[in-house]
Amino acid sequence: MSVTTPIVHIVDDDASFLAAASRLLRASGFAVKTFSSASDFSRSATPMHRVVWWLICRCPK
């Protein structure tokens, strides 16, 4: 396959929600990376093309 498997990045400050969401996506066949804060995510040098954003507003840093 020429298309690389998409990696889903999840950012959430709630650890158990993060674990559950990543579990569900993995069961659905996605590769998953989790981050507990936006700053962690921005430090991870993820390529920013082909990104789907799922945002929770007013999530503290």
């Binding site: 709630d14 158990s16 929600f17 674990a19 559950a20 579990r23 569900l24 069961a27 007013r58 503290p60």
Partner: protein, 613 residues
């Protein structure tokens, strides 16, 4: 009728009248022995007067001698009763002098009856006739003086010394009344004994020729004694008037205050009570009162406490003050405020217990209603606070619910595999359980605060108390980008309080602190809760922020009801918090921090079993 007969008969009758009056007083009040002794003196003086009259009328030397001899009997009684009167009435006088006087007088009396014709004469040689008082002829003796007469004079001398000594003692010791008594009674006894003894001594020595005039000075003595005693009678009458007036005032006050009085006589094992008291306790006017039947009227929960309070008062405490409920025969309930005092005898045994009981049902009901109202207001405050927290708490519950949902969906997908990864599924189930408990915890804490409930105080750990509140407020703090810091040292003692009400206070102070931070940039917003020991009896908890602080002119008003600086505030949070803290026996106050922002501090008493003092 002759003048001599009239005068001496008048002396005798005056003395007898006084004696009768005071005999009656003594008879009615047997304790008043001074009155008895006075009567004996007065009767003796009457007898002396009668003897003097007979002597003056004597026709033969034998008659003269016999009557004079018998006259020593009333003299003996007069002297002994005067000595007794002085001892009793002055509470003074040396006993040995008293015994000497009486002993000498008794000896004189015995020798008198052994002598012929009497103590005063060895021999009466003849009667001399004198003319006195407008031509009346009376008899006086002529004869050989008896040396034993000196014994009677010695007795009179000791009587003088005894009375003078007792009078001086009384004068030195006494107040105004006692000094007058010393002067009037002591002075006149001394003076007139001197006159009487002088008269008879001169007479017996044959130096003067007068009839016996002993009854005159003795009458003066009796008059002085009677005057003093009548003062006592007058004083008693005055006291009884005062007492009646005082009783009137007392009963007016007791009626006005709606107080019932009861008196328990320990020796006779009797209880007396006013009509009002019987009405309060539901006893009829004629019913016999027993301590046990009274205690049975008390509410069973209050009975033992009252029994102990009474026992303690009777065992030496001397007083009690208590409040209890009565269960009335008609099934009603009544609150009684009661206090009493115990009177002890010299050996410290209880003699009388006097108690006053008052119906305080109305006050108790008002207190109860006030308490309910206060709890109602506190509840309203909590509900309104939970309203402020609602959206943050919804988020707090949504997080675990969302996690549970995703975990369940993931598990379903895993199960579709031919060989599902059971370890993964076990981990999912464990997470679901954990998240469920987490959501349940949030709901429990919320519900505890929303519930309408009574005040229940018990020992509480501050760490847990503050921790619970912090977890309720944390979601809101996160949403408002406020750092909520908690610093409660582990070694703090337990405090005594009601968990929910204290959580309410803390939550109120934390929310206020966060409200004050709107103007502060998000990365600097801080609210911190700290606790420390305050002396040996209490713990101080502080909630401080780094916001705008409280303007100096408003610092004194932040606890006023309806005072608020927030656009949609009600102004009830802080007054409710202060009421709660004060109901716990603590204080709540506000101050501005040195480095900016405000701090609200409150104290709570350390639970007794944990107090270090």
């Amino acid at each position: 009728m002759s003048w001599v007969t009239i005068i001496w008969a008048m002396i005798a009758s005056a003395c007898l009248t006084l004696a009768m009056v005071h005999l009656v007083i003594w008879f009615k009040q047997t304790g008043q022995r001074a009155h008895l002794l006075f009567s004996v003196t007065a009767i003796s003086v009457a007898a002396i007067a009668a003897c003097e009259l007979l002597v003056m009328r004597a026709q033969t030397t034998e008659q003269f001698g016999t009557v004079t001899r018998w006259a020593h009997l009333p003299v003996f009684f007069a002297v002994v009763s005067i000595v007794g009167f002085v001892r009793l009435y002055f509470h003074a006088g040396r006993p040995w002098l008293a015994y000497t006087v009486c002993g000498l007088r008794l000896l004189t009396l015995i020798i008198n009856f052994l002598s012929v014709p009497n103590l005063n004469y060895k021999q009466i040689t003849g009667l001399r006739h004198l003319t006195i008082l407008g031509g009346e002829t009376i008899s006086v003796a002529e004869g050989v003086p008896n040396p034993w007469t000196k014994l009677g004079d010695l007795s009179s001398l000791f009587l003088l010394i005894f009375v003078a000594d007792a009078s001086v003692t009384l004068w030195r010791r006494g107040n105004r009344t006692e000094r007058r008594r010393a002067l009037v009674v002591g002075g006149s006894i001394t003076f007139f004994i001197l006159v009487a003894a002088g008269n008879s001594a001169l007479l017996h020595a044959g130096l003067i020729h007068t009839p016996y005039l002993i009854s005159f000075p003795f009458l003066a003595i009796v008059t002085a004694m009677g005057y003093e005693l009548s003062q006592d009678v007058l004083r008693a009458a005055q006291l009884s008037d005062d007492l009646r007036e005082s009783e009137e005032r007392m009963s007016l006050a007791v009626d006005a205050a709606n107080v019932g009085i009861w008196i328990r006589d320990f020796a006779r094992n009797e209880i007396w009570a006013t009509d009002k008291w019987r009405e309060l306790f539901g006893f009829t006017l004629s019913e016999r009162l027993e301590l046990e039947s009274i205690l049975q009227r008390l509410h069973p929960d209050d009975r033992e406490a009252m029994r102990q309070a009474l026992a303690k008062a009777g065992a030496g405490a001397g007083r009690y003050e208590t409040e209890y409920r009565l269960t009335l025969p008609d099934g009603g309930m009544r609150w009684i405020a009661s206090q009493g005092r115990v009177e002890f005898d010299a050996k410290g045994r209880p003699v009388l217990m006097r108690g006053a009981s008052r119906d305080c049902t109305a006050r108790k009901q008002a207190e109860q209603e006030m308490l309910l109202l206060r709890q109602e207001i506190a509840h309203v405050g909590r509900v309104s606070m939970m309203g402020q927290l609602a959206s943050a708490l919804a988020h707090e519950i949504n997080q675990p619910l969302g996690a549970i949902l995703h975990n369940a969906e993931a598990a379903e997908l895993f199960m579709e595999n031919e060989s599902p990864d059971l370890d993964e599924i076990r981990a999912i189930l464990a997470d679901i359980r954990k998240d469920d408990q987490r959501a349940g915890g949030v709901i429990d804490r919320m519900r505890a605060l929303l519930k309408r409930r009574d005040l229940e105080t018990r020992p509480l750990g501050l760490g847990e108390l503050v921790g619970d509140v912090a977890s309720l407020a944390r979601a809101d703090a996160a949403a408002r980008q406020v750092k909520l810091g908690v610093d409660v040292p582990g070694g703090l003692p337990l405090v005594r309080g009601d968990r929910v009400h204290l959580q309410q206070v803390l939550l109120n102070l934390i929310l206020n602190g966060m409200d004050a931070l709107d103007a502060v940039s998000p990365q600097d917003r801080r609210v911190s809760v700290t606790a420390r020991l305050d002396g040996t009896q209490s713990v101080e908890i502080a909630v401080s922020d780094n916001g705008h602080g409280i303007p100096a002119d408003k610092l004194g008003h932040v606890f006023d009801p309806f005072f608020t600086t927030k656009p949609n505030g009600l102004g009830m949070g802080l007054p409710i918090s202060r009421t709660i803290v004060e109901a716990h026996g603590g204080r709540l106050w506000a101050e501005n921090n040195n480095g900016g922002g405000a701090a609200f501090r409150f104290t709570l008493p350390i639970a007794e079993e944990d107090a270090t003092g």
